[in-house]
Symmetry: C3
Subunit: 139 residues, 3 copies
């Protein structure tokens, strides 16, 4: 049994879902491990990870619009406002979604369903450099 | 250290929580591994996984009713409507809950709390064949 | 490759976020394993786990206030009311957040981002003894 550690970086350009499935597939291809458990952890508190629909991009738009309506920018409830109107909503949206994913790997393929993709969900408006830590254990 | 892969299948019959704890207990019983880490991943984008209360079935009803009210079928916000009024809400409800669970196993027992059960949360109205991938690593 | 199991206990004193990062750092320090995968599982259905902002305590207050408003105590929708007005909201808040976290460890350090802390999110008003199971696999 072996393990390896790495990191995927991406630059986001505003709120919404970013498909990182191809980057992860490429990364797995380069590893020695064939079968095992992949763990992804996003190192931020205003962006998150999701497994969600990879077919119709309208799904990603609707997801973003739903979360924007559920967690309103500039809501008077919030006291943590110094970093901008979209900052506290970003922390809440992160809490409502996921910060890590665990995905079994068999024959170097993620055991995802046909319509599942791996997404970084950016919750802030500006550009950000986001990092996702990767851990793979197996053989 | 060893690992094994498998799959649990179930047919759902409409929205709500389906207790898959017994199926998982049965599966663990048949494995060689005594102590390790169990990973569950549901291969869908309109059904999810939850650890939640296993005692009073009213909890499951209330959970379903809360999510139905929070994410309204046929909401005019949604543009992804071709697969039905309940489809986009199902993707959002999946995003709001979990698609994978990681559960330590000791002496072939999941280290869950007394009141915790493992549930598939079906977010669509019709019958669906749902698959949960299982990975177990340990010894 | 080795693995070990343990438990962190804490007493909560009402709703809100409790930083357990120091307890986990202390625990990792005492283990033989340098590099691996850490899994945390909270054994309750009315408290959950979160990776969230560790800098400004206003974030934790705002998170709690948001969830209190989103899931109202004593909502007439709920039928599971025998354990108190805050019990069914606690199950829903648990479903909306996380019950387990998977965190890669390198050189005995959790690979978290600079502003990420590990929190127990208590969803009930009274004092509770909460337990978080720990599993670590690696070498």
């Amino acid at each position: 049994m072996k393990q390896c550690f790495d990191e995927i970086a991406l630059q986001t350009e505003g709120r919404g879902l970013y498909d990182v499935t191809p980057k992860i597939i490429d990364w797995i291809d380069k590893q020695e491990i064939q079968d095992g458990l992949l763990t992804l952890l996003i190192q931020h508190t205003s962006a998150s990870l999701l497994l969600n629909e990879n077919y119709d991009s309208d799904v990603q738009t609707d997801l973003e619009n739903f979360f924007s309506r559920l967690v309103k920018d500039g809501d008077s409830l919030f006291t943590h406002t110094i970093e901008g109107d979209d900052d506290m909503p970003a922390h809440i949206r992160t809490a409502l979604t996921q910060t890590n994913l665990s995905i079994p790997i068999k024959n170097k393929k993620m055991l995802l369903g046909q319509w599942q993709g791996v997404y970084v969900f950016e919750h802030r408006y500006n550009e950000f450099d986001r990092k996702v830590k990767i851990h793979l254990i197996g053989e």
